[in-house]
Amino acid sequence: MATEPLRMPAYGAGELSVLDKLETTPRPARRFPLQVWRGAWPRLAAVAIALAVWQAVVLSGWRPDYLLPGPVPVLRRLAADLTQPVFYGAMAITLERALWGFGLAIALGSVVGAVVARNRVLRAAIGSLITGLQSMPSIAWFPLAILLFGLTEGAIGFVVLLGAAPAIANGLISGFDQIPPLLIRSGRAMGASRFQLFRHVLLPASLPAFIGGLKQGWAFAWRSLMAGELLVIISNHPSLGVRLQLARETADAEGLLAAMIVVLVIGMAVEILFSSVDGTVRRRRGLA
């Protein structure tokens, strides 16, 4: 090839970088307190409205107030309960079960999801079964769980696991399905091995859907756990469910509602945690 040495136009730092500046918009600085307030006020307003409706029902005299106490005595009772170690003991037992069950569900759901998503035969075989399991009310598992495990921690764990794992597996499967084929081709053209493609392309690409699956899985796990704690009462394991049950038996309406509030708040707190992780991931990718 007989090309003469070329004199290339001197640009580079010039025109292109001017274009670059024009074509990118600087990120607006976010003021943190304002950000928090924007996220918080609709939630606070919703809580206020809920409390007001509750109070209105109580005031209407629909039920006597030893059966349906208003928000003020219940919140006072909650504050009192929160100073007692027994209450935290119950919470700890419930949270430990949630952690175990949900943790196992993440492990099982991820493995099953990843394998099923990548294998056509397995997909045809059990893909729709997973979706079916997801819509099965978890409380329907309890009779079987009690037969298999007796009134033990195992029975509760079993049902929490079965409640949450299908949603997590499905999240991962739909995550894999939504990966743009171009990204996979791009990874392959780069010379990625099968494992490298999985590790560096497929897994990170499916992360948003996987987080969605975790969020849904958590909701199922928490519901299953509460059902379980009402059905499978193990002596000397005073969980939140046991407190609910006991409060009903002793007609302690204030205690019952206080425990319910705790159940609601824990469920929501974990949900908010997943949502904020989800939001961060999406923002980074320019999806939100």
């Binding site: 090839m1 003469e4 292109l16 970088s17 780069m190 690409a205 320019g286």
Partner: protein, 248 residues
Amino acid sequence: MRPAVRIDGVSHAFGQGGERLLALHEVSLELRKGEFACLVGASGSGKSTLLNLVARLDPPTTGEIETFGSRTALLFQEAALFPWLTAADNVELPMRLRHVAADRRREEARQLLSAVGLADFEASRPHELSGGMKQRVALARALAQDAAILLMDEPFGALDAITRDLLHDELERIWLERNLTILFVTHNAREAVRLGDRVLVFSSRPGRVADEFRIDLPRPRRLESPEVARLAGLVGDRLREEVLTRGH
């Protein structure tokens, strides 16, 4: 001197049985080391298929493709950057796949990004960059594959005219500096003449090389120069002829 790429009697078909579609028919082609070859043809003429075969994304149905131990890097019309990685991490990824040490990787990625004029955008995410900038990150990422052969599938097709013009200069500079062999697919005859040492006219259904033009114009060339326009006219006429005789 042995060529950089040899495509020998390659045919490629999609589908099976009666619905078999012959995408490429008996394509033979050699690229010299350091050659810039442009492939022009109507859409659906199998140009992209040929690039995929050379990139070893698929094996050809018949025939052989030889790259003599050189790695190939493939660029698409869309940048296909990984949205969860920063610009620098995108460029680092091919090196990670080859197990290059972390600090060398980082240094190399920095150099490659400044080679495409994006030194200030290392930490940017793909969605924060314009189309042209994404395509330059993709170019840096392709260079990070340490490939002697660059396969480009209408890489500037989706860009505006000014950006495209500047990227032509940029690509030409990088090609010369790194002594790359480039196979560049486009449907734009002018772009092909602006960039290529050789322009190959591809016919459709099945795709095969119908004609070739040597472009001996001195570099750097300009897209709007009369010589480029004249040769592009000849290429365009030949292309039209191909399309018409194929009843396409």
